[in-house]
């Protein structure tokens, strides 16, 4: 049985584990039909031209993992931003770990989707927002919607801001030889409210993992959201991430994606600007080696006048790794005075590495500023020579150059401890030996 058949036929069993009378279940039933209809996207579809899910579909993934053994905090501490205090929503094999988590209901709700879906007090928010941002016609997203049951639920009411950042961590324990996870996150940040999130998927063994994640984020008027995706998973873990962000007027949403690990990663990052004075900022650093594959598909849809978007993605590709950047910007006819900026710079450090980069601009307004630029290149020889004349050997000098190239994106990271962490991850991945203690 292939993966699609297995998923579709599992839906009945899934229904036994949930409340089928809840209105959300109608949404799920619709979604499984969409997935059954469309199946997994193939390479004939333009959006999946460079990313094949074929080999993943041959793996016999366990879809309903059994409860894994508890993890000791000391064993997974390094995956947390433990230098600072944070709220934590932690899952092991898709199942909530209250032991590792730190949630709150103190003026804000930082807890679980399963709770939000089952308790009446959350119903007003769920009714308004659940599945309202996610694409109904996208098969992969629909697959997640059909099985949506657990994930992070964050609700920040008007004028509130949690006292610390929220970490969302999905561990896979390796208790199954292959596991498929489908976390679903719902994040609502109301008018003038603020939120910082760090999201991470981490496999703890070399067993196969496929995560199909959907996150819906709603930013109210003048809301301020900072979202960090740290993708540094094991070489046997694959991730399809679908993030849908709806922004109201005056809101600011920054998403940083750090793609260093994993086997296959597909990031579908979608911004919908539904007001004026919005700032959407998308930044990414991708550093790959071996046969890693990362595909960034971004969409910024400007639907109202006087808003801006900034995209800056940097990639470094070694060995036989492959990368994709597809950046789509749509400016509606009424979205005059839009300022949309997109930049994608890549460095290939191996003859066998590949990058496909494509800006896709659909502009229907006539008074806009849009700029885009893609580069694929090698390191600047003059800069290398400069470092060599200071006694730094060529190999270290090029590592340092790449570090500098990638590091540039980090300036907008607003959690200093996270910035330091990412700095170190980048340095480690590039083999730069820098003393950080001076």
């Amino acid at each position: 049985m292939d993966l699609k058949e297995k998923l579709v036929s599992s839906f009945l069993a899934f229904e036994n584990s949930i409340d089928v009378d809840h209105p959300v279940h109608d949404i799920r039933s619709e979604a499984i039909k969409t997935f059954e209809d469309k199946g997994f996207p193939g390479r004939k579809e333009e959006a999946w031209k460079y990313t094949s899910l074929k080999s993943l579909q041959k793996i016999d993934f366990s879809i309903f993992p059994k409860e894994a053994e508890a993890l000791e905090y000391r064993d997974v501490k390094k995956y947390f931003l433990h230098e600072i205090d944070t709220y934590k929503i932690v899952f092991i094999d898709g199942i909530y770990s209250s032991y590792l988590s730190e949630t709150t209901h103190d003026g804000v709700d930082i807890c679980l989707l399963s709770a939000a879906l089952s308790k009446p007090m959350y119903k007003p928010v769920v009714d308004v927002y659940f599945n309202k941002g996610a694409a109904k016609d996208d098969s992969i997203t629909s697959l997640n919607t059909a099985f949506s049951k657990e994930g992070a639920y964050i609700y920040i009411p008007k004028h509130k801001a949690p006292i610390k950042p929220v970490e969302i961590l999905h561990f896979s324990s390796g208790s199954e030889s292959a596991i498929m996870l489908q976390p679903r996150n719902l994040i609502v940040v109301e008018e003038n409210a603020e939120l910082q999130v760090i999201e991470r998927h981490q496999s703890l063994t070399g067993n196969e993992v496929l995560t199909n994640s959907v996150t819906e984020i709603f930013a109210g008027e003048n809301a301020n959201i900072d979202y960090y995706k740290v993708q540094n998973d094991n070489p046997s873990a694959s991730l399809i991430d679908n993030t849908y962000i709806s922004q109201n007027k005056g809101s600011q949403v920054f998403v940083h994606t750090f793609a260093f690990g994993g086997k296959l990663t597909r990031n579908n990052l979608n911004f919908y600007q539904e007001g004026s004075g919005i700032n959407s900022t998308l930044k990414g650093v991708t550093i790959l080696d071996n046969k890693q594959h990362v595909d960034h598909h971004t969409l910024v849809h400007h639907q109202q006048p006087n808003s801006e978007s900034h995209q800056d993605y940097k990639g470094i590709y070694n060995d036989k790794s492959t990368g994709v950047f597809n950046g789509k910007i749509i400016v509606d006819k009424i979205a005059q005075k839009t300022n949309a900026f997109q930049q994608n710079n890549n460095v290939l450090i191996s003859d066998n590495a590949t990058v496909n980069t494509k800006p896709q601009l659909e502009i229907f307004a006539d008074d806009v500023k849009c700029s885009h630029g893609c580069t694929i290149g090698q390191l600047d020889n003059e800069a290398l020579f400069y470092l060599q004349t200071r006694g730094i050997p060529k190999k270290e000098a090029s590592a340092l150059m790449m570090y500098a190239f990638a590091n540039n994106v980090l300036e907008s990271v607003r959690i200093p401890e996270l910035k330091k962490r990412i700095n170190k991850l980048i340095a480690g991945k590039l083999g730069v030996r820098l003393g950080f203690d001076l």
Binding site: L400, A404, L434, G435, L438
Partner: protein, 255 residues
Amino acid sequence: MNSTQMLKIKDLHAGVEGNEILNGINLEVNPGEVHAIMGPNGSGKSTLASVIAGKEEFEVTQGIVLFNGEDLEDVAPEERAHKGVFMSFQYPVEIPGVTVTNFMRTAINESRKARGEKEMPANEMLKRIREISEQLEIDRKFLSRSLNEGFSGGEKKRNEIFQMAMLEPKLAILDETDSGLDIDALRIVADGVNKLRSKDNAIIVITHYQRLLEHIVPDFVHVLHEGKIVKSGNKDLALELEEKGYDWLKNETVA
């Protein structure tokens, strides 16, 4: 061969992709000496500096460069640095994300490692950084900034001299270090260079103008024209050039 000679360049021809830029340079530099190399734009001054520092783009087609008696032909730029060659860049490169301090530490320890020495202890490093930055009137904040990123032209040049002082080279080549400096910065940079002067070190100052040489007084002045040294003299030659311009020499060589 004179055993005290530090740098000996014999009949050096070099260029890029078949274009010959250096056309038979002869130059000898002994420890304790300061040489100035002057000349109009395009005369080959920066190329000469880059060839001594080991830039791979330039192909040496003829002649030889000896440093302390050793042929530098197959010696990589970083190895030349480890042996004590330093070149200050006309256009220093920006390295975002790497602080001046961290960069300096990496550079110094790489050289030490290559010479089989232990890493410089952090406290000693910090002490030296403090001393030298004070000498060069460099703001402490500047040391935790990313290397050359967003630095003004003057700050970049000062940073070059800071690096030179930290690395303590035997031979320092200053490529147009005076360009972009106001008169106060020029004095500070010149003081920094003069502090390095000793009987064991040599300095080659490449410049367009005489004004830097009022502060770093050279023992010898050479004039480069079309890839050749067309005239050598003492510091008075620089003054003469300032007065008469390079055309005077161009005419003289033709004649």
